[in-house]
Symmetry: C2
Subunit: 137 residues, 2 copies
Amino acid sequence: MLDRTDKNIIDELLKDGRITMKKLGERVYLTGQAAASRVIKLEEEGVIEGYTINLNQVKAGYTIHSFINIYTKSLEHKPFLNFLDQQEPYIMNNYKISGEGCYMLECRFPSNFELDMFLTELTKHANYKLSIVINRG
Amino acid sequence: MLDRTDKNIIDELLKDGRITMKKLGERVYLTGQAAASRVIKLEEEGVIEGYTINLNQVKAGYTIHSFINIYTKSLEHKPFLNFLDQQEPYIMNNYKISGEGCYMLECRFPSNFELDMFLTELTKHANYKLSIVINRG
DNA sequence: GGTGAAAACTAGTCGGC
DNA sequence: GCCGACTAGTTTTCACC
């Protein structure tokens, strides 16, 4: 299991995923090597799934950031999931959920045009509820 | 504005936020120094807001990953937002939205107990629709 | 806005504890 | 599971184009 130090490492990496192992070590009172070997362990265990950036979608040219609750029409989900695979750059995350629908998408679109195209295709597979992000809360 | 190379850099960093500037340069046909200076520019412009890890919430001890659509009861949102500030580690993201409610929370909880506590308090400020993540879609 | 070369720093590997 | 020391590799800075 994860001890206190592992949790501190995770918190530091959440705040700065590009921190050097040396500095990370200082923050959690270890040497760089010890910190690095714990990070490798966390990666191998799958606790850390990868490293990425926090992107400002609007400044990156994706004007529309939205969440879409999906209510699939058919019991066969594969055509829907295949459709999503084709929409690669627009789909930031897709979660299978229990609650409001069966899937929840986090999407980004350069403009209403691409959103419209996407929704038109989506309607063939599922009903949906669309929530457009205005700002951080 | 962002040119083709900037967009490639962003895509590479989204896939691997810890890639070395040297490798990043190779991927986008630049030297490490040129890649690094473009990255610094993107950071300064606010396109890249920061670096972080993709955390497996369940393996990190947060069993419950959920999205909550918020329908505030009062026109005065500050008490609600103050309440959220107190719930720090549980709130991963909060977006002001147009669509299903006025806010959309992404939350994580160690167990149903903490979720229950949270919802009990939340009810004082807002109605909600809860969607619990089962898996990636 | 880009390069090449040198200096400063970091990561990875090792034996030892 | 962690440390100190070594080596290889990377980042940073600079003059130059």
